[in-house]
Symmetry: C2
Subunit: 437 residues, 2 copies
């Protein structure tokens, strides 16, 4: 087929980064991307390249004016396992736990899809800068896309973190898929008690073998925070689309707010802990936990029979009934506005509470704080026994409720614990400088 000839003639290999100049009437258009394998079933008249935005385009071979190879697939850094480097005196020690996700992925050139593939070692080796900053010990503990993350895996991660910190590491980094990174960050925030050192989750929105990958900078900033004075669970990701700085978000207040932007992660109802620049950490607040001495403890008792239920016009109470009948111990409601549900939904909440199910209320607005005292419907919901979760994110309230129900099923105790601030999940007062930031 034409395509094979064309590739041969220009010396193109699948995976090469190329620039293609194409004629379009009077104009010349330029595209840059990775050469994809010719589809076997296609007539073979087009060259397919994967653009930096992740999309594939097919370019008619007859319209191609010129092709330049920008980076040869064969010359790309080989991400194979090497011996762990000898520890350097005077550098802090950081363990990177690999769990999978884009940050540890590469494109499968056969399907064009992204698969988790790199081990933590390979990842670390791909960003050699970090070995100048710390003695980095990579360790792959699982290799999944984070949409497959499960509450039981949170426990495993928590234990790995504690093990590393309690055996003398100065900080731990967890390389994680971005999809559910916020949930895992919340879970670790509750499970790691008496935290005395930094725990940093980091991911990437573009896979490591794409020219615009954000993994190198995110990882470098993660090492900075992992060796800092902030002894909290944090998420470190790009703060802007360009490579200016990363943000270190508190693990209980952070959320993925965009499907694909590099700066998708945002602190909701709170300001981040720090801006992480190439050469320094700019702390944005001083009410953070400081690094100190002492053993980190893992309190991983959770109740998994918990669900999130979003409210919408027309929702039927039968869905809540079903959860109660199925033995769920807790439900986090994503109410409308200040935390409302339709009036005809309230008897179902009442029944759930009567059966000992904890019903917590958050808002689908995401920003702001629930307040069930303003409207009559809110008061009725309170009277039915619902627990209003202040300004907590629905996702954080979900994880927290699992953790709280792992400790008690006395509903009064559940209420007390849900309203106790364990890991910065509740901002005591509403901040007006945090909306859509």
């Amino acid at each position: 087929r034409k395509i094979e000839e064309f590739m041969k003639k220009h010396g193109l290999e699948v995976g090469d980064l190329i620039r293609v100049i194409k004629r379009d009437g009077d104009e010349l258009l330029t595209f840059e991307g990775l050469v994809m394998p010719p589809y076997e079933l296609s007539p073979g008249e087009t060259l397919t390249i994967k653009l930096d935005n992740g999309y594939n385009i097919g370019i008619l071979i007859d319209a191609i004016e010129r092709v330049e190879v920008l980076e040869n697939a064969a010359e790309k850094p080989k991400m194979t396992f090497q011996e762990v480097l000898p520890r350097k005196e005077g550098l802090p020690n950081v363990t990177i736990l690999g769990t999978g996700g884009t940050i540890a992925s590469r494109i499968d050139y056969k399907t064009g899809a992204v698969h988790p593939a790199f081990t933590a070692e390979e990842l670390a080796k791909a960003v050699p800068e970090i070995f100048e900053m710390a003695n980095v010990t990579p360790k792959l503990i699982m290799n999944i896309l984070s949409e497959d993350m499960k509450p039981e895996y949170w426990k495993r991660i928590a234990h790995e973190v504690a093990k590393a910190l309690n055996s003398g590491e100065d900080g731990v980094i967890i390389a994680h898929g971005t999809d559910t990174m916020g949930y895992t960050a919340s879970a670790l925030s509750f499970m790691l008690r008496n935290l005395t050192k930094p725990v940093v989750l980091v991911g990437a929105q573009r896979s490591s073998d794409r020219p615009s990958s954000d993994s190198a900078m995110n990882l470098t900033c993660a090492v900075k925070m992992a060796t800092s004075d902030v002894a909290e669970v944090m998420v470190v990701m790009h703060g802007e689309t360009s490579d200016t700085y990363c943000l270190a978000h508190r693990g209980t207040k952070v959320r993925k707010m965009h499907t694909s932007r590099r700066d998708a992660f945002r602190s909701i109802n709170d300001i981040p802990i720090a801006k992480v620049w190439k050469d320094r950490i700019e702390l944005l607040r001083d009410d953070y936990r400081r690094r100190s001495e002492g053993e980190v403890e893992v309190d991983d008792r959770i109740e998994e029979k918990v669900a999130i239920l979003k409210i919408y016009p027309g929702i039927s109470g039968e869905i809540l009934d079903f959860l109660v009948d199925k033995g769920y111990r807790g439900v986090v409601i994503e109410g409308t506005g200040l935390g409302h549900v339709p009036q005809d939904f309230i008897p179902h909440v009442e029944r759930a509470v009567e059966e000992g199910v904890a019903v917590c209320v958050t808002s689908q607005c995401l920003y702001g704080r629930v307040n069930l005292n303003v409207y009559s419907n809110g008061r009725k919901l309170l009277k039915a026994g619902a627990i209003p979760c202040e300004d907590m994110l629905p996702e954080t309230a979900y994880v927290k409720l699992m953790w709280v129900l792992g400790h008690t099923d006395d509903l009064e105790e559940v209420r007390k614990m849900m309203l106790t601030n364990y890991a910065g999940e509740i901002t005591p007062y509403t901040r007006f400088d945090t909306f859509l930031r």
Copy 2:
């Protein structure tokens, strides 16, 4: 009790807007708010006022230095029914349909809660400016808090809108609670076909009898848009916290993003249609439907057995199974990231599709666009028959799916219709200037 004496001595009435100066050690603190009735069961040592942010505070009477009445409850504009004013020649004609919500509410001074109370007439009379701008005909069609809005009420509103427009009104305004205003706006966007005139939803975050109420400005801007050239369904609400301008959002792209801020409403993945200033409309785009001639049609066929299901780590496929077993015809999934679900959830999607249930995929990130082609899990979900909903909001996809299923239950037809742009619900390409705006 002390409190009764104190109120008598200072001539305070329940509902007065007052300023209280209180001693606090060496400092003097100032509070402004509405006098609340003394609680019968309290010892009567404190004066309770409702602050502008909606919270009540109790101030120890002994610490009060001074009290000033800023506005007498008795002197507040009486919002009682008056005759509809005679129509003025040359002014456009606008009908305001009242449905309830804060914009038509007042505080119940007995409980401190907000109740829907004003009729559309009272509301209109409370903002006399609008009678200079248009011949306003108010009509109360229901009086509910919008958390109680139901799909069948959407139909009623759609028919009332069409009736008004087809009998010569130049535009229609719907006064609506803010909680579910986005859902109703979407529903009207799909149900009102061949729309030739503006339809504007408007609400308020602060009730009309609070000094900082946003209802007057929102309503004034709503009248501006209702008499404009934009023949679309729009939401008009504050654009900033101060009274600078309102934004006119496209009905299918708008979402309440904050529980309480006046500028809570935001266009997601798209820019608003216009800024509405006190003296002019500043159009932000020109790809809007223009005012024209012709009868508006109502196509209100919807299928109500549709649900929204948010994905989270640990979600069990049994919830989707339950919906299928209960005869639901469609489910909108709020996936993680680009639109993912856990791998072990996919067989449940497959089963749903096999039983003829339409499964649509949106993202809980809210911003961005789903793309099931990037990761292997996404491809599997596609293969299972899921319909990826581009950059549609989950709430809009929910309303749209109800409407689409009202027209067909052939899954191929459903897919085609879900991916057809009926009312601006799909932005053809991802805009980078719309994130967190």
